[in-house]
């Protein structure tokens, strides 16, 4: 697959905290990455490290705490916590300074205080503007998307109207079609361009809906009322994912695990998304069926030009499926690289430990495999020098501080 450098999704300093009593649980903490158009991006890590939360935050199932998410260049999600924190910090800072000045009472301290207050107000105003921006962006993004869709429709139909000319019957039909499509366009949202496949195919399908209803639900919500069109679409999608038309009127419990996951995939691609977030789509499936689903996803990716974000903990499958892989550990992205590069030159000790734990179908090798233990307290000394996410070689990012960066650079040469 040729490299396409158009950035489809950009996640920028994403934080997702959950309230846990009086403390925050940092499920995702300052994660940044980009996904290019047409590629498959793998996200791995142990359970509870925030892989799924990242996926759900992107699709706006959670309100993100801070950071930005850009899809096709438009900001679809923005958190405000970091700006609010900045305001509080500025206030506290200023109050401290003023108190100090008040007690010392040096010459001209009144002016000093005024200066501090002005600085504080400037910071607050700036951050407030950012918050306003973020809020309006997440509201306006759909409006803008709808407007652009309408504009496209207008230009498209203007030509068609012209071509129809004086034929009044044809014109009327065209006008009717134009009206329905406008109505759909007015209801559509940019976020529907990202769809999700869930882990458990049993739990994620409504047992009281037929397969047809399940697949068509997205279309109906989007305002499509034409029954024939919906049926046509459902049959088409069913055949794409390897099921048959007759399956449309059955209920989820009548299907095997692999078929259910196919229904989940059908539900996702019926909206013609540009991107799919696959959250452990195969870990609940049986061995022989896993390969079927992987092959199906690969075919769909080629035929529909999908971009896939693949979340999993089975590393050999992720390696097989993904072009680039991000490794997460306790809410942080610790390493990000091309999949071959990551497996050839793992730099971060956690990645090494993760790679050493993969079981392979090779008894001789397995019996002498030694697992590398990862103990973050022993491995890193971040007391003085705080780590950040840095690029070691082009396209290979690692979470490290200065000393480690140097070490990694040497290692890779």
């Amino acid at each position: 697959m040729e490299k396409n450098n158009e950035v489809l999704l950009k996640v920028d300093h994403l934080c997702q905290y959950f309230r846990l009593g009086h403390k925050d649980m940092k499920a995702v903490d300052d994660v940044s990455f980009e996904i290019h158009k047409g590629e498959s991006f793998g996200l791995v890590g142990e359970s509870g490290c925030g892989k799924t939360t990242t996926g759900r935050s992107i699709i706006k199932l959670y309100d993100i705490t801070s950071g930005n998410i850009y899809f096709k260049g438009q900001r679809i999600g923005a958190g405000t916590r970091s700006y609010k924190d900045a305001i509080t910090a500025a206030r506290a800072d200023a109050a401290k300074k003023i108190k100090l000045l008040n007690t010392e009472k040096k010459a001209g301290y009144q002016e000093e205080i005024k200066k501090v207050q002005e600085e504080r107000d400037a910071v607050i105003a700036q951050n407030r503007a950012l918050i306003r921006d973020a809020k309006s962006d997440s509201k306006e993004v759909d409006k803008q998307y709808q407007e652009s869709l309408l504009k496209d429709l207008e230009t498209e139909y203007a030509e068609k109207f012209k071509a129809a000319g004086a034929d009044s019957v044809k014109l009327a039909a065209l006008k009717k079609e134009y009206r329905t499509r406008c109505r759909v366009a007015k209801k559509s949202k940019l976020i529907t361009q990202i769809q999700m496949i869930f882990q458990d195919p049993i739990a994620s399908l409504d047992p009281r809906m037929t397969v047809r209803d399940i697949i068509a639900e997205g279309l109906v919500i989007n305002g499509i009322t034409d029954k024939d069109y919906i049926n046509e679409k459902v049959y088409e999608i069913l055949e794409t994912v390897g099921l048959v038309r007759e399956h449309a009127d059955r209920y989820p419990h009548e299907f095997s695990g692999g078929q259910r996951q196919r229904i989940g995939i059908a539900r996702a691609i019926v909206m013609q998304p540009e991107m799919i977030i696959a959250d452990e789509p195969i870990s609940a499936l049986d061995v022989s069926i896993q390969a079927q689903v992987i092959n199906l996803l690969n075919e769909l990716r080629e035929s529909l030009g999908l971009t896939i974000m693949f979340i999993a903990h089975d590393l050999s499958v992720v390696k097989y499926f993904s072009d680039r892989i991000g490794v997460m550990y306790f809410g942080k992205m610790v390493e990000l690289a091309d999949s071959d590069e990551l497996f050839k030159n793992p730099l971060h000790p956690y990645t090494k430990s993760l790679l050493s734990a993969i079981p392979l179908p090779d008894p001789v090798y397995e019996k002498q495999r030694t697992r590398i233990h990862y103990n973050p307290i022993a491995e890193h000394d971040y007391s003085v020098d705080k780590p950040s996410f840095r690029e070691i070689t082009p396209g290979h990012f690692v979470q490290c501080n200065d000393a480690e960066e140097e070490k990694y650079r040497k290692q890779i040469k």
Binding site: S47, S288, L315, S316, F343, P359, P361, P363, Y365
Partner: protein, 744 residues
């Protein structure tokens, strides 16, 4: 390979009765499990892996039918022994770890209680059982001695002698138990005291507040309980000194609490909890050291001393060192009692053996009669019952009452046979009904079809077991006992009466010890904590008091393993123990299971569908498909030289780290086991299937002495088939990697 076989499954067939008909979940599988090895059963869901393991554990679902075959463990057929016997094995000898650790734990019980629960219950039952068996065996021994003497009056003993000897034996055993009880009570108190001290030291080490005064007074109470003269023989003075220093510590702590209390009362707080002072910690450390020494001293042999004390009630052997006392008492015991007791015992043993040998020959004849009777067929229920009863009676008579190691086959024979006979009549009664229904339905369907209507239902197949097959099963039950008896009769020449005598005495001693051995809550706790540490749970002492929801998935699975190990089983069945866990935790759990296997010499049946995990764990592999074993061999053979197309399909459907080409997915789904295919079950999904695969089931072909596969491709006339490319390449890569593994 000359390894000890722990468990052997032969021709097992299990079906389930359902509304749609009989689902044949396991169809005729056989395998052996050797001591200290891991046997992995691989296959997709619905292939009968779990059904097999549940049959071994005796926890099959209520609608299951055992259609034939046997599961042999320690001479017993696990699917035919009564529930009470199974209850003794389940958990104790054969333990199981389930897939989902959360549903295997009780959510509202603390972890500690869940681990110790079984230990405490088993201990209580053990003590009761020990006392009963001891009395029963002794009574039987005396009975047999009297009978032997009546027949052989010139042996030099009289019946009065027997009474005297048995009374002495019982008496001095009671004396020994008394002494040992008191010794053990002190020992228990010491262990409990250790536990409390460990608690306090652990808390104070972590700078947590403790109710020191209460804990100290508890320790003091325990210290007072350590009063057995044998146990404290060398430590009397030291213990007194410790008691004094504890007192002073307590005074100091009390004072501190008093000061704090008056200060805190103003603030309205509770002051009884406090940080332990360094002096107290030091005193406790010292006491712990002494206690440890005491626990490690050489134990007295109370069986010997018991006799000495029984004869000389005023003697005090605690002044002597343990070795000296043991030696002296042994001599005294042998000279005055044991030698002549054994001589008497020998007469009884020989007499009883001779008797049972004769009975055994009778029993063999009776068994032969019964076999002929059942083989002839055509018997009424009443006759069959009578035949069962008579043959059981003669078999029971052939069990030597003085053989302390129970002959399990003969012991459980009666119940097994009765159940099989019952089943036979059940079949006779129900099969005609089934046949009738089947005929009716088929006729209806055909009539409908003849009218040209479309029929969208299928005829529910007959859930019928052939009566002939059932008779064969009954005969096999009889045959097993007969073979055993024949072997016994043949081995009668080499019978060693001397050895049997010592066995009986050892057995009695063991039972007496069982009565004495008492497990208290404190000790159970210590043992549970040790077990938790063994399975790799950090800070076990703190974790002990937590609830299951406070543990992560991997930790929960460790707890489940700890519970399974608490009874020290022989065989561990792991039913997909890591499927719910992620890679790193999975690696940890697998390492843990491997380590425990080595340390405890466990035999493991490991059920999974992940071939990577299998490669890590298994010594041998059985690949199952649609209720049959299709390939069976050592791990190396199955991975490097797979023979069955299903194994190929499994191997090529999962990517490894170097796979780039398209995966070979297995098309379709497994067959419906209500209508099992006539030929090879995998034929429909198999692109290498031959014509014969659809018509006949392939036999097991031997590839090497340890490697078998059931596929027609191995038939000499079969066309040569190349392995799928994805596998040949992978094997090549694996061989390369195996060659220079130094780099890895």
């Amino acid at each position: 390979m000359n390894k000890e076989i722990k468990l052997s499954v032969n021709n097992l067939k299990v079906s389930f009765r359902t509304d749609g008909g009989k689902v044949q979940a396991v169809r005729d599988i056989s395998f052996d499990l050797y001591k200290g090895e891991t046997l992995a059963i691989v296959g997709e869901s619905g292939s009968g892996k779990s059904v097999t393991s549940k049959a071994i554990m005796g926890i099959s679902a209520g609608n299951s039918i055992y259609e034939g075959g046997e599961i042999l463990y320690d001479g017993q057929d696990l699917i035919r022994i009564p529930e009470e016997e199974m209850h003794k094995l389940r958990g104790d000898k054969i333990a199981m770890i389930f897939q989902d650790p959360l549903s295997a734990l009780n959510p509202i019980m603390r972890i500690g209680k869940q681990i110790t629960e079984a230990m405490l219950l088993k201990n209580k039952a053990n003590r009761k059982e020990g006392r009963e068996t001891f009395n029963k065996t002794l009574a039987e021994l005396s009975d047999m001695m009297k009978k032997a003497l009546a027949e052989n009056p010139s042996a030099g003993f009289s019946a009065a002698d027997v009474d005297k000897y048995i009374k002495t034996f019982d008496g001095f055993n009671i004396q020994a138990i008394k002494l040992e009880n008191s010794y053990n009570e002190s020992r228990t108190a010491t262990e409990e005291m250790m536990a409390v001290i460990e608690d306090v030291l652990f808390l104070s080490e972590n700078k947590q507040k403790v109710d020191v005064v209460a804990k100290l007074s508890l320790i003091k109470r325990k210290l007072k309980d350590i009063n057995d003269k044998y146990f404290t023989s060398n430590y009397g003075e030291t213990l007194k000194a410790h008691a004094v220093s504890l007192d002073s510590c307590m005074r100091a702590e009390r004072k501190k609490v008093g000061v704090m209390e008056s200060a805190k009362k103003l603030a309205g707080g509770n002051a009884s909890k406090n940080e332990t002072s360094t002096e107290t910690v030091a005193a406790l450390e010292e006491l712990k050291k002494t206690a440890k020494e005491m626990l490690e001293q050489t134990p007295y042999n109370f069986f010997r001393i018991g006799y000495y004390v029984y004869k000389n009630p005023n003697a005090d052997l605690s002044k002597m060192s343990a070795d000296e006392a043991n030696e002296m008492a042994l001599q005294f015991l042998n000279e005055n009692f044991m030698n002549s007791f054994i001589a008497l015992e020998k007469i009884a043993v020989q007499y009883s053996f001779k008797n049972t040998l004769a009975n055994k020959k009778d029993a063999i004849a009776a068994l032969e009669n019964a076999i002929n009777f059942f083989k002839a067929g055509n018997f009424s229920e009443k006759d069959a019952d009578a035949a069962c009863k008579s043959v059981n009676k003669s078999v029971l008579a052939a069990i030597d009452p003085l053989a302390v190691i129970k002959d399990n086959i003969a012991y459980t024979f009666g119940g097994a046979l009765e159940r099989e006979v019952e089943k036979y009549f059940f079949i006779l009664k129900n099969n005609p009904k089934e046949e009738e229904r089947f005929k009716r339905q088929t006729a209806k369907r055909e009539a409908l079809l003849a009218k040209g209507k479309t029929v969208d239902w299928e005829v529910i197949p007959m859930s019928i077991i052939e009566p002939e097959v059932q008779i064969e099963t009954m005969v096999s039950v009889l045959n097993r006992v007969m073979d055993k008896f024949n072997a016994d009769v043949a081995a009668a020449e080499s019978f060693d009466a001397e050895k049997r005598c010592l066995e009986i005495i050892d057995f009695l001693k063991e039972k007496a010890a069982q009565v004495v051995y008492k497990l208290t809550k404190y000790i159970a706790k210590e043992r549970a904590i040790k077990l938790m540490e063994e399975v790799g749970i950090p800070e076990a002492r703190m974790r002990y008091r937590q609830y299951p929801f406070e543990f992560s998935g991997g930790m929960r699975q460790r707890i489940v393993i700890a519970i399974a190990l608490s009874a020290n089983p022989d065989i561990l069945i792991c039913d997909e123990p890591t499927t719910a866990l992620d890679v790193t935790i999975q690696a940890q759990i697998l390492e843990l299971i491997n380590r425990l296997k080595k340390e405890r010499n466990l035999s493991i049946i490991f059920i999974t569908h992940d071939l990577g995990v299998v490669a890590n764990m298994a010594d041998r592999i059985a690949v199952m498909y649609a209720g049959k074993i299709v390939e069976y061999g050592t791990a190396e053979e199955v991975f490097y030289n797979p023979q069955h197309p299903y194994t190929w399909a499994l191997l090529s459907s999962m990517p490894d780290l170097d796979t780039n080409e398209k995966l070979d997915a297995i098309p379709g789904t497994p067959p419906n086991m209500i209508y099992p295919p006539v030929g090879d079950a995998f034929a429909e999904r198999n692109k290498y299937a031959l014509e014969i695969d659809f018509e006949m089931q392939p036999p097991m072909y031997e590839v090497s002495p340890t490697h078998f596969a059931a596929t027609w491709l191995l038939h000499p006339n079969a066309p040569k088939v190349e392995l799928p490319k994805i596998i040949t390449e992978r094997i090549k890569r694996m061989k390369e990697r195996g060659g220079n593994h130094g780099e890895e």
